[in-house]
């Protein structure tokens, strides 16, 4: 599950990770009072107005602005709240901004120059260990850094038996080129960051930039936090942070019915049991001239109710020109799934796109017969190859 920047920072703070002071605001008025409170608390006279959406690259799209007066806080908040923010990570139409984070400006002048670093914590699957990935080149696109200067990317693996050790924190601080108070502050920063990662069952922390301020503090100026969905049951406070406004409404609706659905941009809808077979079915659609309109795993049971809801969700997409149902009946019987398809078809009423139903496995022949005898405009198949050929025919028409 993705968290907003302000949510991520509130969690990091609980674990002792230093972050800039900030307050979330839903209106320009709230933004101004937030700015005033931050001045009282920190003495800051400049503020950063940051759009809170689940996508990176917000600065590039104009969603992060520096305000040098309360009037500017108000004007910028008015501008950013409600805007459709387009970033390299959003769809072309962008994402609506419903809230902004008003944050103290931490790039204030002081005795030493500021510097920006990159730091992330994640699982290395192949090593079955967590690792801290970091670079002295922060504040920029880390993929570009990896491409241009791979020697500026460092990795620190953490032994799951013993956890992060002090010498590893020291090595990180040295590799980032720090000395004195900033070096010391970084030791605590890294340690707290890793503790937070483990404690909340995170699957990704990305802090870009980590800032060394002019007075040698270390701060997480931005953060991306992703939490392991499978572990949310033991973090109810984090589960409550889920923001449905940030998710595709069709995907949210599908979730209510136990369907695993991902919206795509193609023209052939599909409904499959099992994630691997679903991906394979999408690949096959493409191979035979179509483009998948979605990923949809109906799960192991694939009963009539689920099949009907899956049809309804797929049919909401106006781009869908045909639907391929691909069910491999193992434990689930194909004739039951076929009956589900027929019932769903009748309940929904008029379905104006061709439907191809491929049923294989237990009682596949009975299932096909049920579909063929139903009088519905449904093409049926048993072999995967036959279904592929039917997709091709439907696209050609």
């Amino acid at each position: 599950m993705n968290l907003h920047e302000f949510q991520g920072k509130s969690i990091l703070k609980q674990y002792g990770v230093t972050v800039p002071e900030g307050i979330v605001a839903f209106t320009a008025d709230e933004a101004v009072s937030a700015a005033k409170m931050l001045t009282e608390k920190t003495g800051t006279n400049w503020w950063v107005v940051k759009a809170q959406i689940h996508a990176g690259g917000r600065g590039k799209g104009g969603g992060v602005k520096l305000a040098k007066s309360l009037d500017e806080v108000s004007d910028l908040s008015k501008k950013i709240l409600g805007m459709m923010l387009v970033t390299p990570q959003t769809k072309s139409e962008g994402k609506k901004v419903n809230k902004v984070l008003i944050q103290q400006d931490v790039y204030y002048p002081g005795p030493t120059p500021t510097s920006e670093f990159y730091m992330s914590v994640m699982l290395d699957r192949a090593m079955a260990q967590n690792m801290i990935l970091y670079s002295p080149r922060g504040g920029m696109d880390i993929e570009a850094v990896a491409e241009e200067t791979p020697d500026q990317i460092f990795k620190e693996y953490i032994d799951p038996k013993t956890g992060l050790q002090a010498f590893q924190c020291r090595r990180i601080a040295f590799n980032l080129g720090l000395t004195g108070d900033a070096w010391k502050a970084m030791l605590g920063f890294v340690n707290s960051l890793y503790n937070a990662f483990v404690a909340i069952d995170a699957s990704l922390f990305e802090i870009n930039p980590v800032l060394k301020t002019s007075d040698n503090k270390i701060l997480a100026v931005d953060c991306k936090v992703v939490v392991d969905n499978n572990a949310l049951y033991r973090h109810p406070e984090i589960a409550n942070m889920r923001d449905l406004d940030e998710e595709d409404p069709m995907e949210v609706e599908a979730g209510h019915f136990g369907l695993n659905f991902v919206k795509l941009d193609g023209n052939i809808g599909c409904m499959v049991n099992g994630a691997g077979l679903a991906m394979a079915t999408m690949d096959m659609i493409k191979l035979y001239g179509g483009e998948p309109a979605n990923f949809l795993d109906v799960g192991g049971t694939a009963n009539a109710k689920r099949v009907e809801e899956a049809f309804r969700i797929i049919l909401k997409d106006p781009n869908v020109k045909a639907i391929l149902v691909n069910i491999f009946g193992g434990i689930v019987r194909c004739d039951r799934v076929a009956q589900g398809v027929v019932d769903a078809y009748n309940n929904i009423g008029e379905i104006n796109v061709p439907i191809i139903v491929r049923l294989q496995g237990t009682n596949a022949v009975e299932g096909k017969k049920l579909i063929d005898d139903s009088g519905l405009k449904v093409h049926s198949a048993i072999l995967l190859q036959e279904a592929a050929e039917l997709v091709k025919q439907v696209i050609a028409n």
Binding site: M122, R125, L133, L277, A280, A388
Partner: protein, 289 residues
């Protein structure tokens, strides 16, 4: 011969008396698997499906010499169940449970490393040696005894491949579902190696998907030590990128992460990669002809 499980395996079911455990244990027994009993803490001493129920895996092992365990325990308790099985000396642990937190699996990996056991899964359909033992949730009837080994990260896609093989007249030695989680017990390479070293296996189907580098790792092993034909399909060529991980993930996985990149590595290593999932059986039949 076969790998991991056979007609001599003494199979224990953890989470025996729950809905899932009951349903699938029944299916396994009907298939002819030698299910010797099950474990449900607190129900020891009773019987279920005419088999004894034990409080602990250790009790079950000392009473029955069970050497294989299949786990149907809910996600919050599944990691513990795996470790209990390893502690009791079970040699092959098959974990079906889907939804175990990654952090728990890191602990499990640490716990079982160095112990004399193999973990298959979690989040997998299990392992089947057709005609001998079905240890998992796969439909038994689509399988036929034979000489093709299967390794897969997926459930229904494996059934699809098995079905195509059976229809092409090719039976299976052992089908191993290694599971779809980011951290799992047996890797693709380890499963391929078992089949490569199995004299009764003459060809291998390797089914992979996007994410991680397990297929690439297996491919390099096959290039260097392979002695039988391998057919492979990699699912997810059309899957949207970055849905589960952000920027940082893209760096770590590097080139080996996408379906296309994996296929290229596999082809370079001499593996017969099919682009359509409908051609897995056909391709293997050509190679076996």
């Amino acid at each position: 011969m076969s790998v991991l499980v056979n007609k001599h395996s003494k199979v224990l079911v953890q989470g025996f008396t729950g809905n899932e455990g009951t349903f699938h244990a029944t299916q396994m027994i009907e298939y002819g698997t030698n299910v010797i009993g099950g474990v449900t803490p607190g129900k020891g001493g009773s019987t279920h499906l005419d088999k004894p129920v034990f409080n602990t895996v250790a009790d079950a092992v000392s009473a029955t010499q069970a050497d294989v365990s299949v786990i149907f325990v809910p996600p919050p308790f599944a990691a513990d169940a795996i470790m209990e099985a390893a502690d009791a000396g079970i040699k092959v642990i098959v974990c079906i449970t889907e939804g175990i937190p990654v952090k728990d699996m890191l602990t499990v990996k640490q716990y079982i490393s160095g112990k004399d056991c193999i973990l298959v899964g979690p989040n997998c359909p299990g392992v089947i040696t057709p005609g001998e033992a079905k240890v998992g949730i796969m439909p038994g009837f689509i399988h036929n005894p034979g000489t093709i080994g299967i390794v897969s990260r997926s459930g229904t896609l494996t059934y699809e491949a098995v079905d195509q093989l059976t229809k092409a007249g090719l039976g299976q030695s052992t089908a191993i579902g290694i599971g779809g989680d980011p951290i799992n017990g047996t890797s693709t390479k380890e499963a391929v190696k078992l089949l490569m070293e199995d004299p009764a296996t003459t060809g291998i189907v390797m089914i992979g998907e996007i994410g991680g580098n397990m297929e690439a790792e297996a491919a390099y092993y096959i290039r260097d030590f392979g002695n039988k034909p391998v057919v492979s399909f990699i699912a997810g060529a059309t899957a949207p990128k970055g849905r589960t991980m952000g920027h940082a993930g893209a760096i770590v996985g590097g080139k080996a992460d996408t379906a296309e990149a994996k296929k290229e590595i596999l082809r370079d290593c001499g593996i017969h990669v099919v682009d359509s999932p409908a051609e897995i059986g056909k391709k293997m039949a050509e190679l076996m002809a």
